[in-house]
Amino acid sequence: MEDILMYVVGGIKDIFIESGYIWMIVGSMLGIIVGAIPGFTSSMATGILLPVTFALSPINSLIFLVSVYISTIYGGSITAILLNTPGAPESSATTFDGYQMTLQGKGFEALGVSIMSSFIGGMFSYILMIFAMIPIAWFAIKMGSTELFLIAILGVSILATLSKENASKTLLSGFFGLLVGTIGILPTGEWRGTFGMIYLSDGVQVIPAIIGFFALSEIFTMIEKDFIVDTNINQKRDIRMILKGFVVPFRYPITLIKSSIIGVVVGAIPAAGATIAAFASYGEAKRSSKNGSKFGTGFPEGIVAPETANNACTGGALMTTLALGIPGSSTTAILLSALMLQGLRPGPQLVRDQMPLVYAIIMACIISQLIMVILAVLSGYGLTNLLRIPTKILAPVIAVFCIFGTFSVRNAVFDVWVMVIFGLIGLLMKKFDFSLPAIVLGIVLGKIADNELIRSYMRFGDEFYLQFIKRPISLVLLVIIVSSIVYPFVQDFIKMKYQRK
């Protein structure tokens, strides 16, 4: 307990010594703006802004990105509520009741409900992080190379369970991403998959992949529309309505607690993400509520559940990213890259050797939540005007920013070409329902998985594969991976057989 208190105080001190609070404000503001733009996900926002952090210290760069991450998830609810268009996938479930409240003239009250629910969900997960990081670190240190390899594979395979209708396409995307992630020079000095290109000796850079797949492919989609959102709905702006909405979540304490727990647990599962947390929470709240039939008609509890869960998810995702080095979501994959760019190695080593930094990040998350509430109230006013900018102007300008953001990684035009190629592949993947998060996660995790497997081989020799069965944690992980891959197909087979009967 004393250790935790010491780290918490140290974390707050580090934030103020480094003027991290400035980056929290900037990050929160940018996150809300970007999150409110439909199609701009938290992963896109952090991906595009990642190069901006090169000039910052490690702690400020992480504070900035974490603030962007947290605020983007809230930002998506603004357009979800006011325009029935989620600014980010995580806010999709918020449209069900949020937009109905707008139609009833209570749009700004709904924004207030959303802000407070997001705040409570986020705070729950970060306070849990304060107490959970040390036990998780203790557990993480027990993991060897075989376990870390399997966790990397789990990150990709579990996506198949979460997208049952497209399981084979998701797995193909994920494993292909893993293969792309293995390109580069090995510790043995061999060049693998580089096709003689010197720029690939360091592997495929994560930033061009992230910006290409998430940002550029979305820009290509945006070009085909005149405006980001086609709507003429106007809402009466009144700050008192937002403040009225602040007290509403407290009428549903059980929903708040359940949604927070769902968010943290789902967030901790590698690659699950806030979208799943939001839908799972909405479904559970509707099922268990006394007023379940009112969900979808503009009932505030229908906003409380998803918004609490999607923000609680951020803490869960950060826990697995920092403690295990495995991203809990696409955005935390970018945060993982940010840590590596700053010379830090996320995972058991980080929590063992850099606990003050970890707690500084947790405290930054808590303070960012407070800043987010203030900025969110103000942003509810002017943001919808941004959506009136024609895409013919917005898309080329954002594309330029993406190009130079990618260029700045290594000052190489080669990376820009890689970004464009990934952007075009991303466009095709969107059209044909392949999973973009799977391929990006694969690219991020490919090198990690490969290094851990080689390490395992070097330690145990030709019979290294027996370690997957002999070691208890490895065996459990192996069973989960095989189940997650096989489950969607078995379910389909059983469904088909049942239909034939």
Partner: protein, 163 residues
């Protein structure tokens, strides 16, 4: 979708098979390129070759469906359903390729201005004041953030050395 008409059946192949084939071709190219590397170097890739092949095959099979012609006589053998790529998207992609290709020749400032003018004009923006002002402001913003703040050396091109 590609339709292949046989005597009594039609084979329907969804275009997603193109992406699957691209992934498989890359995997084959990777395996050929990595041929002869040490055992440690190929442990993980070999596992991936196998799973990519299996999932690729499954995706190809899911892309193919066979339907009855229901007695209707069809004179042609093949039918390609057109893929609609909007003019705006084509222009934007062309503009993007030209921009990146000319970036190191013309330099950062000129390339950004030309790219934005090209895109905005051909995408339908006709207000020249808006086009020029957005192009210049965006260029200055990029220069300010990347060159002045982040101290990143941007391409100066053959013509302009003062960058």
């Amino acid at each position: 979708m590609l339709k292949i008409y046989l005597n009594r059946k039609t084979v329907n192949i969804r275009y997603q098979v193109i992406l699957t084939i691209l992934f498989l071709l890359f995997t084959i190219a990777y395996s050929l390129e990595s041929w002869g590397l040490s055992k440690e170097a190929l442990i993980f890739p070999r596992i991936l070759y196998f799973v990519i092949s299996v999932t690729g095959l499954m995706t190809i099979l899911e892309s193919i469906s066979i339907t009855d012609n229901e007695g209707v006589m069809i004179n042609k053998r093949f039918e390609f359903e057109k893929v609609n790529l909007s003019f705006d998207l084509k222009i934007f992609i062309i503009g993007l390729f030209l921009f990146i290709a000319l970036l190191e020749i013309l330099g950062t400032m000129i390339s950004i201005v030309l790219f934005l003018i090209f895109c905005m004009y051909f995408l339908g923006v006709r207000n020249w004041v808006l086009i020029i002002s957005i192009s210049i402001l965006s260029t200055l913003f990029i220069y300010g953030v990347f060159k002045l703040w982040l101290s990143i050396q941007l391409p100066s091109g053959f013509f302009l050395d003062f960058l």
